[in-house]
């Protein structure tokens, strides 16, 4: 539960984009100043959710508030304070790097020309180079340059490093981290690259099939999901003080449980249920993410006996 001031708040948002896919009852809160990792497998609805919160798509139901602005009524005021890097290049191919920067500057009231020029040199972008002639990495750098030079209070980055080589990825992330450190901006960064999120995010939201299935501080997410090896496990775990995400039989040698919200004191519940706890093993973020998705898809906590 987030009680701090929020940069983004979605409540009960529904949006059907096709016969096959819909965002359903989406609720999420991004605290101001947070670096919020928006995790989810491909096709989970991350880009749709981002387009909704930027006012590019209209929600069928629910409310979306970004930086204090109700998006359905006042999207331009919010967009003036947002730096956006989309999944695929959105820049016009006929303009050069310099012309693109000038065009962007004309629309964003807080454009920082000095920062833009410094970033252009740092990224090694030639002013006269046409956008259509830029490589994928250069395009990614230019989009990040544009987003950071508007001095945004909120950065919305949709798979910003997807498909970039490690050197470009490092440059882009370094520029991002420097800006956030300097301006205390909020960042929403969507990705399916779990390890990248682990390094830079302090909050994480997991989206799957159009629903947010977890929203917790990264530390809690990382430390709260454990793998337990249990002998003599009870058939029913409804009363457990933690959430059982999955149970797997180990061919008569006990069971492996993946649980969320685990604390050492919870071992006594297992003992009182007649089970013995043999091992508690931490999961890395990627394993935690996969287990969470499994449980969200209804495969959790079931066991064949």
């Amino acid at each position: 539960m987030i009680t701090a001031p929020t940069a983004i708040r979605l409540n009960g948002v529904d949006c059907r984009t096709s016969k096959e896919f819909a965002i359903r009852d989406l609720a999420m809160s991004v605290p101001r100043g947070a670096v919020y990792g928006f995790l989810g497998p491909n096709g989970s609805g991350k880009t749709t959710a981002i387009r909704l919160l930027l006012g590019m798509l209209r929600a069928d139901a629910g409310t979306i508030e970004v930086l204090g602005h109700e998006i359905s009524r006042d999207a331009p005021a919010a967009l003036a304070k947002i730096g956006y890097v989309p999944e695929r290049s959105h820049l016009w191919p006929h303009l050069s790097v310099e012309e693109t920067m000038r065009f962007h500057a004309a629309f964003f009231p807080r454009w920082d020309a000095a920062r833009a020029d410094a970033l252009r040199q740092q990224f090694g972008l030639r002013p006269s180079q046409l956008v259509s002639a830029l490589s994928k990495g250069e395009n990614g750098k230019l989009m990040m340059l544009l987003a950071l030079s508007t001095q945004p209070e909120l950065l919305v980055l949709d798979e910003p490093t997807d498909g970039l080589d490690p050197v470009v990825r490092r440059d882009v992330l370094q520029a991002l981290v420097e800006y956030v450190g300097d301006k205390q901006a909020t960042v929403l960064i969507s990705s399916h690259l779990v390890h990248e999120q682990e390094r830079i995010c302090d909050w994480v939201g997991v989206l799957d099939q159009g629903k947010l299935i977890a929203e917790v501080p990264m530390q809690e997410f990382r430390s709260g999901i454990k793998r337990l090896r249990v002998h003599g496990a009870p058939r029913v775990h409804d009363a457990a003080p933690f959430t059982v995400l999955s149970r797997d039989d180990e061919f008569g040698r006990g069971e492996t449980w993946v649980v969320r919200g685990w604390q050492d004191s919870h071992a006594s519940w297992l003992t009182s249920s007649g089970a013995s706890l043999r091992e508690v093993e931490p999961l890395d973020l990627e394993e935690s993410f996969v287990e969470l998705l499994r449980s969200g898809r209804g495969g959790a906590a079931t066991i064949e006996r």
């Binding site: 590019m56 999207a75 331009p76 003036a80 989309p86 959105h90 016009w92 191919p93 303009l95 629309f107």
Partner: protein, 221 residues
């Protein structure tokens, strides 16, 4: 950041995007009135009827070109926006209405480039031709008509494209197929045209499309 700055930025972008087609259209527009004089240049035995018939060709070509100019200026920028699924346009901090109005403004201003070409050609034709005493040249009048016709085509194409978006082509084909079907059924069943009233209305004095059909004479009495 004021609206004029945004307008200039969008105007520059569109001018760069459409500079080749605008240059070609402007040159062609200048060449159309010259058609009226290409046979007459240097001729001393030039009859008024010949000049009037050549002037009619200018009218047909001029109105067609004006329609083309309007459509090109309305539809090509939309194709640029659609190239990125409108993501860039929609991520700019302006309302959709303001963005649409900026696009209308840039389109209407750029339309003056082919119009200027047409005016230059018309003035050249008027001065070069040996006009019989009973006829007069109307280069400014016909250019005004060109501007009006191009603006009308622009407004129609812009309204349909930006109003219907991706569905525009589908709806236009659907409407034309529907009209064709009504006409064919009418002819087969009743032996009369059921769409003739529509065409009459579209060509009537009250219709904005009238500008394409009315008097497009560079030389007239």
């Amino acid at each position: 950041m004021n609206r004029a700055t945004r307008y200039k930025a969008l105007l520059y972008s569109q001018l760069k995007y459409q500079r080749i087609e605008l240059t070609i259209l402007s040159i062609v527009a200048g060449g159309v009135p010259a058609l009226a004089t290409w046979r007459a240049l240097g001729s001393t035995s030039f009859s008024p009827m010949e000049l009037l018939s050549l002037s009619q060709i200018v009218g047909v070509l001029g109105s067609t070109l004006a329609a083309l100019v309007g459509c090109v200026l309305a539809l090509r920028p939309y194709s640029l926006d659609a190239l990125t699924n409108h993501t860039y346009a929609m991520s700019l901090p302006v309302s959709r209405t303001e963005y649409g109005l900026l696009r209308v403004g840039t389109g209407l201003l750029l339309l003056l480039m082919p119009a200027a070409g047409f005016l230059i050609g018309a003035v050249f034709a008027s001065t070069a031709a040996d006009i019989p005493a009973m006829l007069h040249a109307y280069p400014v009048g016909i250019t005004m008509r060109f501007v009006l016709a191009a603006a009308t085509a622009f407004a129609l194409a812009f309204g349909i494209q930006y109003g219907l978006g991706k569905r525009a082509t589908r709806w236009i084909l659907f409407s034309l197929t529907g009209l064709g079907a009504v006409e064919i059924i009418g002819q087969l069943v009743t032996g009369v045209s059921l769409t003739s009233d529509l065409w009459t209305a579209l060509g009537s004095e009250a219709s904005p499309l009238r500008v394409f059909a009315s008097n497009w004479m560079l030389f007239d009495v």
